[in-house]
Amino acid sequence: MKNLYNPETVKIEKIEALSSGVKLLRLKKRLDFIPGQFVLAGLWGWGEAPFGVASSPYQKRYFDLIVRKVGTVSAAIHSLRKGEEITIRGPYGNGFPLDFFKGKDVVMASGGCGIPPIASLIEYFIKNRKKFGRLYLLYGAANPNEILIKNKITEWQKAVKILLTVDKPSPGWKGYTGLVTDLIKEIEINPLDAVAAMCGPGPMTAAVEKILKPLGIADRRIFVSDERKMHCGLGKCQHCTTGDKYVCLDGPVFNYDQIDKNWD
């Protein structure tokens, strides 16, 4: 019997500050995963917490996590330095349905710290660019400094149409101002053959769905990465349940109509 609670030790190859409270960690390990899956990263003495993998699924030498300092574990991770070690369990969850996306236009929407799984998904699309239709990323943040992985975004622009928006612009800001939902009128897609992939704050994903659905993207084709307290990763501890689903096993990626009627 395998002890699935036993984590693996991995070395931190690189740490980069992405904004005031967000760091990117590059971990030296081959992780075979599907964009949208998450890992439980931990530190002895502090515990474990879930993070979506942000790097390309084709990158076999390392993988990246983007960590916002919001809780005990993430704060402890922020105190680490290059060369130090961290523990990993996973990957867990289902990931985005990549085959289902093939041949379709894809609208990706992200806000706040929801960019990691979307970033990984974009890397996958870019590697298989010809297999997909029009690709959009609608990405919102509080201010321009909170737009994460800017260098990646610049790199992606050749293959993906990227629309950035902020609540509070700063001088020289070239993107949009306002909500992510305001960006939808800027996109051109065939809604009957399009899918949406979202990860971000609940109110944002709900608002985006309210616009995409009337456009003709059915809830079955709207995929959202849900947030709950994924604690054990094995569907045992009960912390991440919503309705009849375990976010750690059945999710974190759900069809919108799988979760929108959940009572919790």
Binding site: M1, K2, N3, L4, Y5, N6, T9, W44, G45, W46, G47, E48, A49, V70, G71, T72, V73, S74, E85, E227, R228, K229, H231, C232, L234, G235, K236, C237, Q238, H239, T241, T242, G243, D244, L249, W263, D264
Partner: protein, 312 residues
């Protein structure tokens, strides 16, 4: 031929068995906690990590096998359910390791109607002085291979019906329970508002429940900072921070949601996942709730209103 054990020999048998096993005589009326605590401890160390040498070790299991004696049919049924939960879809290493390192002997004061599918040996009352031995495993057969168990040709066999239990009657129709509980929430049944005010959010119902299995894992550091232990403790979905994520959002922000979740998991989600309620009607939560919430009464009220509404 029936293999019987004299009631008066039970303590001598246990004494004999304790030479080989670490024997626990579980007596329901003497302890609030269910037998689950022997396989899934209220707090247990899982790993130990030494900071200096970076040595990680899985806490070893006890060298002596546990022999848990005295579970009645209801508690055996609960154990069977917990075994299934801890096995599917992924295996819980620590629970199953402890289960494999143990022997379970049931003691039933009522006649066995539905075959028991868990444990190694079940002793079934057949008359005022004797129990019939029903071994279920090789280990169980091994246990009756001693002077305390005797073969008898024609022992007196009486029928001892199960004690009347309203909750267990309700559980026979787990489909109705699933429908009625969910329906009550959709129709904003006033009982949930009422329970929000009654429930103290103490978690006792889940701790005494033989099937509830919510847990949290946290690290414990030695005062001198040399070592840390990763510990698993019981948690309860009725406690206020159970569904709270880093950053502060609480997905079940008030007690109504948390209390309903307890019911939802037991009667609705469990029914969809396993085809039965995660309740065996043992009555512990009713007995030990400090706010005297009686889940049987709650279910009866919900079902009554559900059926009234359906018949309109």
């Amino acid at each position: 031929m029936t293999i019987v054990l004299e009631k008066s020999d039970i303590s001598k048998l246990l004494e004999e068995l304790s030479k080989k096993y670490s024997v626990v005589h579980y007596q329901k009326d003497k302890i609030a906690l269910s037998a689950k605590s022997h396989f899934f401890a209220p707090r247990e160390k899982l790993f130990s990590f030494l900071f200096q040498s970076k040595k990680l070790s899985v806490l070893p299991e006890s060298k002596r096998k546990l022999l848990l004696f005295g579970l009645d049919q209801i508690d055996l049924e609960a154990l069977d359910q917990l075994d299934e939960i801890m096995t599917k879809p992924k295996e819980d290493y620590f629970y199953l390791r402890q289960r494999k390192n143990s022997i379970v002997v049931g003691l039933s004061e009522s006649s066995i109607i539905v075959p028991v599918t868990v444990g190694d040996l079940v002793l079934e009352k057949i008359n005022g002085n004797q129990y019939r031995a029903n071994p279920l495993t090789k280990t169980g057969i091994g246990l009756i291979n001693n002077k305390f168990f005797k073969k008898e040709k024609n022992p007196k066999i009486f029928n001892y019906p199960e004690e009347k239990n309203g909750l267990r009657e309700l559980l026979k129709d787990s489909e109705l329970l699933a429908k009625a509980v969910y329906h009550s929430w959709l129709r904003k049944h006033p009982i949930w508002e009422k329970l929000e005010k009654t429930c103290l959010g103490c978690g006792i119902c889940t701790y005494v429940c033989p099937i509830c299995h919510c847990f949290s894992v946290e690290d414990e550091i030695e005062l001198n900072g040399s070592e840390c232990s990763r510990c698993r403790s019981w948690d309860a979905c009725t406690l206020n921070n159970f569904a709270k994520v880093a950053g502060g959002k609480n997905y079940r922000p008030n007690q109504k949601y948390r209390y309903f979740n307890w019911f939802y998991h037991k009667f609705v989600r469990a029914y969809k996942e396993y085809g039965k309620s995660q309740c065996v009607g043992c009555g512990r939560c009713q007995k030990y709730c400090p706010a005297r919430i009686d889940i049987e009464k709650v279910l009866l009220e919900i079902i009554k209103d559900y059926q009234n509404e359906k018949s309109l």
